[in-house]
């Protein structure tokens, strides 16, 4: 009992017989080793006897855990949805402004190029007139916005695996976040059939098809994944269907259980090697 931290139970510092403030103590407290907390709580006057201690503990743990669950669920997927939309907005706006800037800066500086990288070079110029000051200031905004988009991407790459471990492992964190955003949340994504997941992000093409114009889209946003884009065109429909099927399962596991399920990832890899081997088979078949 020389280590002071081991002497502090969750009830330390709370008023006798009251669980006010218990949530904070249960959630952020810690101890190196457990102890005979019921006896200590009675000795310290927090509880009148052991039964009373367990009543208080029950009330405190149920309330603290309920509040923590609400927070964690609220915190997670909806925040990811905002982050990925903000990242896209920041990227798009940076590009639009960079285009405007390229046009304007071209009239003032010989070395002015176009795009975000060119804007970043302009930032280093020393303005020699009020006009140049405006152009360089605009370049700084572009730089900031592009920087914000990068920070948001880093945040998403860290956060998505917390929210949806299986979906992030399978799709990569950014695509996982985009799917969650397109569906409107992890629960909404988990409830969608895999055929819908396959064409999420291709709504325009889908509705055109339903209105009798054009063929049905084979893939939506999942096209950005190498499993789809890296497969030859004639097999892309199969690849997109197989990929979307496993993504749906991953989203359901993440929403309903939260456990990592290595076997679904192995299944998908198997299926993808089979689909991609068709191209190899055709190639070797042609040689013979």
């Amino acid at each position: 009992m020389t280590d002071h931290t081991t002497d502090r139970g969750w009830f330390t510092g709370l008023a006798s017989g009251s669980v006010d403030g218990a949530r904070e103590a249960i959630e952020s407290g810690s101890a190196a080793e457990p102890a005979d907390w019921p006896r200590r709580a009675v000795d310290a006057g927090f509880a009148s006897d052991e039964d009373n201690y367990y009543e208080l503990l029950h009330e405190a743990t149920v309330a603290a855990t309920r509040a923590a669950v609400v927070d964690r669920e609220r915190a997670d997927d909806k925040q990811l949805l905002h982050a990925v939309r903000a990242m896209d907005d920041a990227t798009r706006t940076a590009n639009e402004l960079a285009e405007r800037l390229g046009e304007w800066a071209g009239t003032l500086f010989d070395d002015a190029g176009t795009g975000v990288d060119a804007a970043r070079q302009l930032v280093d110029h020393e303005p020699e007139s009020p006009l140049e000051a405006r152009v360089i200031s605009l370049a700084e905004r572009v730089d900031d916005l592009a920087g914000e988009a990068e920070e948001l991407r880093t945040f998403i790459e860290r956060q998505a695996p917390e929210v949806a471990p299986n979906l992030s492992e399978m799709a990569g964190p950014v695509l996982a976040a985009r799917l969650i955003a397109l569906a409107g949340g992890l629960e909404a994504l988990a409830k969608k059939p895999s055929g819908t997941v396959q064409v999420l992000g291709a709504e325009d093409a889908l509705f055109a098809h339903l209105a009798g114009r054009g063929s049905s889209p084979k893939h939506g946003i999942i096209y950005t994944h190498e499993y789809v884009s890296g497969t030859r065109p004639e097999d892309r429909g199969s690849a997109a269907r197989a990929f979307a099927g496993k993504l749906s399962i991953a989203a359901r596991v993440d929403h309903y259980s939260g456990e990592r399920r290595p076997e679904i990832h192995a299944d998908l890899e198997d299926r993808m090697s089979t689909i991609q081997a068709r191209a190899d088979d055709d190639a070797t078949g042609g040689d013979q």
């Binding site: 080793e33 102890a35 456990e259």
Partner: protein
């Protein structure tokens, strides 16, 4: 053979003798008066008892349950035991666990990571009689070893090891061999058994703290 307290009985359901405990039904399980069926196919601890593993539940009072999930199994544990601490890491199943706990004054739910016992050692008491572990994470053996601190000197461990959580590419028997070896750092292994047909690719380990 598993030694059972009076609060766990084998009763007849659908013409077969099956395990049952006494308490509020939680997931639509069949009941017989106050007794409700404890389905070994839905519970790894239930499967350990059903297959007659060498575990003594007669004198179990206090319990720490790691990986409580929605609370299916831990509800039965709280029916036959005293103070029961239930740790679960994922928010979604914990929501269901809270409903189970609300009906059971001796069940204490905690949203915590079983790999970090110091984050709940200020709540969970020492000298517990039983540690039940069913977590699907890598390093299941080291979770059991790290949580041995909560057990009394002769406290029992009922551990369900899921081979695929460790490494899908490795043969389950190899995984189980490594787990047995690692668990032996803190426990004396009493009994081990595969849980087929109730649960595929799971090894059950019963052990006593050294």
């Amino acid at each position: 053979m598993t030694d059972l307290p009076e609060s766990i009985q084998r009763r007849e359901f659908d013409g077969r003798q099956r395990l049952a405990t006494r308490g509020e039904p939680v997931y639509g399980e069949p009941t017989d008066g106050e007794w409700r069926l404890w389905d070994a196919g839905r519970s790894k601890l239930g499967a350990m008892v059903e297959t007659g593993m060498d575990v003594d539940l007669t004198a179990v009072d206090s319990v720490l349950y790691l990986g409580a999930a929605s609370g299916t199994t831990v509800s039965h544990v709280a029916d036959f035991a005293g103070p029961t601490y239930a740790v679960e890491f994922a928010p979604r199943p914990t929501r269901d666990l809270l409903d189970v706990a609300a009906e059971r004054p001796n069940l204490f739910p905690l949203l915590k990571d079983a790999r970090k016992p110091e984050t709940y050692a200020h709540v969970v008491e020492s000298d517990l009689d039983l540690l039940v572990q069913d977590v699907a994470t890598r390093g299941q053996a080291s979770v059991a070893v790290d949580n041995a601190r909560f057990l009394a000197d002769d406290g029992q461990l009922c551990l369900a090891v899921k081979a695929r959580s460790e490494d899908v590419t490795v043969d389950p028997e190899t995984v189980f061999e490594d787990v047995r070896e690692a668990v032996a750092a803190a426990y004396e292994i009493v009994d081990t058994r595969r849980l087929e047909p109730f649960h595929d690719d799971h090894l059950a380990v019963v052990a006593r703290k050294r």
